[in-house]
């Protein structure tokens, strides 16, 4: 009975069944949207209809303004994210495996991780203004401390036997770090970079809602002033699609760069 597998936990289902279920769930949301708008259930300036969003998109692709906003947002998010990763990956690996580094960094990260980055925006504006540097800083602060904690956890979980084994094979402490600890952390690092990239998109909109004149967050906020729900939805979908693309990129990179690690 093929229906049995649908209701048994942790059981594989046929690929066509999987795909149909996924398509059905998207279709239900789309139908609901059509019903609400074309059915006249919601007022026009409350929720734009699907074709209006598509038209808004076509128009803004044609006059390049959507691409400009996308570009502005991508520059901010990638700069902030890459900058945060460059510092968080090595520091996190050391923090998880060296008690001294942990002792130094933990009080700061433990405190910072609970501060919503939006609470720091007024200070950042005072200190570095409202330019792109401020927005990059928002992304940096939002992701750096989270990455640090997640990666330090990855590093702390590297099996002690693996380290001991390297010692008995003649490795010194430096080689144990470079040849064993660091490669052993890589799959976990990749997974957590992927997760924090998702969070970075959230901070991006926060950064652009305040004091911006370009970017997808700005586009959304600006559209709200004129009740252009089609443009708001266009912005939301664009962010969603860009998020999906970065997620696919990380999955692809992990499979490509770490073919040895267990599948996930």
């Amino acid at each position: 009975m093929w229906t049995r597998s649908l209701f048994s936990p942790k059981t594989e289902i046929a690929r066509p069944v999987f795909i149909s279920l996924s398509l059905a769930s998207v279709a239900v949301v789309l139908c609901l949207w059509c019903l609400l708008t074309y059915g006249g259930i919601t007022p026009k300036d409350f929720l734009a209809a699907p074709h209006e969003v598509i038209l808004a998109g076509v128009k803004r692709v044609a006059n390049m303004s959507l691409l400009e906003h996308m570009w502005a947002s991508l520059v901010v998010i990638l700069s902030g994210f890459i900058l945060a990763s460059i510092f968080a990956v090595p520091l996190g690996i050391l923090m998880g495996s060296f008690r001294a580094v942990q002792a130094i960094i933990e009080p700061i990260t433990g405190f910072m991780r609970y501060i919503p980055v939006s609470a720091l925006i007024p200070l950042l504006i005072l200190w570095i203004g409202i330019g792109i540097e401020q927005k990059i800083m928002v992304i940096f602060l939002g992701t750096f401390f989270q990455q640090l904690i997640l990666i330090s956890d990855v590093s702390a979980r590297v099996s002690k036997d693996l380290i001991d084994c390297a010692y008995t094979l003649g490795a010194d402490r430096r080689k144990v770090v470079t040849r064993v600890l660091v490669p052993a952390c890589m799959p976990g690092v990749m997974d957590n970079l992927r997760v924090t990239m998702g969070w970075a998109w959230t901070y991006l909109v926060v950064a652009e809602l305040v004091a911006a004149d370009t970017g997808l967050g700005y586009m959304i906020l600006n559209a709200m002033r004129g009740l252009f729900t089609d443009v708001i939805l266009l912005g939301v979908f664009t962010i969603g699609i860009l998020g999906l693309i970065t997620d696919f990129f990380f999955k692809w990179a992990r499979r490509r760069l770490l073919p040895w690690s267990a599948d996930f």
Partner: protein, 267 residues
């Protein structure tokens, strides 16, 4: 001349908030050159601690350890170790795992490759040179681990229940393979197990350890001619050795289950 020598080695762990544990109490042991020496004991008797001590991964509280007359310090490539858990480096292929030690010594690449190819042959892993550990079965992983430890040509090979996680058929096959490799390369081996059959089948000598505090209770020479095949397991002399060791271990297990009992005399 005896090669590995431990005299009056004591290890006492003093964890915070917990009573101190005397893991090893005055252990003295000599393992002669090229001897296959097995330590058998119940779990928790400190036999792994003893092995980690020789590997340089733990430090004794008191006592003295020597290898070829030199005191044993921290870990080094001349004391190779095979662990019970799977410790292959997952990011390296079989071949690269085996070359890990030789590469650290900065041997020329061609020499590292020769060493690896030779050992891959010895542990019957031809065709898997470029596989990653995740693609190998448990038995194959431990064969790579053995090859990797031997690649450094260590003076002594330490094995910490290396076949403990394998099913019994695989374990038997691994034991035979280990004896093959050992016979052709003649290494000094110190092997830890809680499996009495495994101890007798492999060892030139078997040291029976008592449970806490860990002591060497008795040492037996196993006079079963080599090469040993599977038929040895049912021979009368094998059964005799097994009876002796079983009775030694049985006494301890029963004894250790009565923690409240007054201080008992140890043999």
């Amino acid at each position: 001349m005896s090669m590995l020598s431990l005299s009056d080695v004591t290890v006492r762990f003093e964890p915070k908030d917990k009573p101190a544990v005397l893991a090893l109490d005055d252990v003295s042991l000599k393992v002669a050159n090229n001897t296959f020496s097995v330590i058998v004991g119940p779990s928790g008797c400190g036999k792994s601690t003893l092995l980690r001590l020789v590997a340089g991964l733990e430090v004794q509280t008191s006592g003295h350890m020597e290898l070829d007359g030199e005191p044993i310090g921290g870990p080094s490539a001349d004391r190779g170790m095979v662990f019970q858990s799977y410790t292959l480096f997952p990011w390296l292929t079989v071949r690269e795992n085996i070359m890990f030690g030789p590469k650290l010594k900065n041997l020329p690449k061609s020499e590292c490759e020769d060493i690896a190819d030779d050992l891959i042959q010895a542990v019957h892993l031809n065709g898997f040179e470029n596989s990653y550990p995740k693609e190998l079965s448990g038995g194959m992983r431990q064969r790579v681990a053995l090859a990797r430890a031997l690649a450094n040509d260590p003076r002594i090979l330490l094995m910490d229940e290396p076949f403990g996680a394998l099913d019994s058929q695989t374990r038997q096959a691994m034991q035979e393979l280990l004896l093959d490799v050992w016979q052709s390369r003649r290494k000094t081996v110190l092997f830890i197990t809680h499996d009495i059959d495994e101890a007798i089948f492999l060892g030139d000598e078997v040291h029976v350890m008592s449970a806490r505090p860990g002591r060497i209770q008795k040492s037996l020479d196993i006079n079963i001619p080599r090469p040993r095949g599977i038929e040895v397991l049912t021979s009368p002399e094998f059964t005799d050795y097994k009876k002796t060791i079983l009775s030694l271990m049985h006494k301890q297990v029963v004894g250790s289950q009565q923690p409240e009992a007054p201080k008992r005399a140890t043999a």
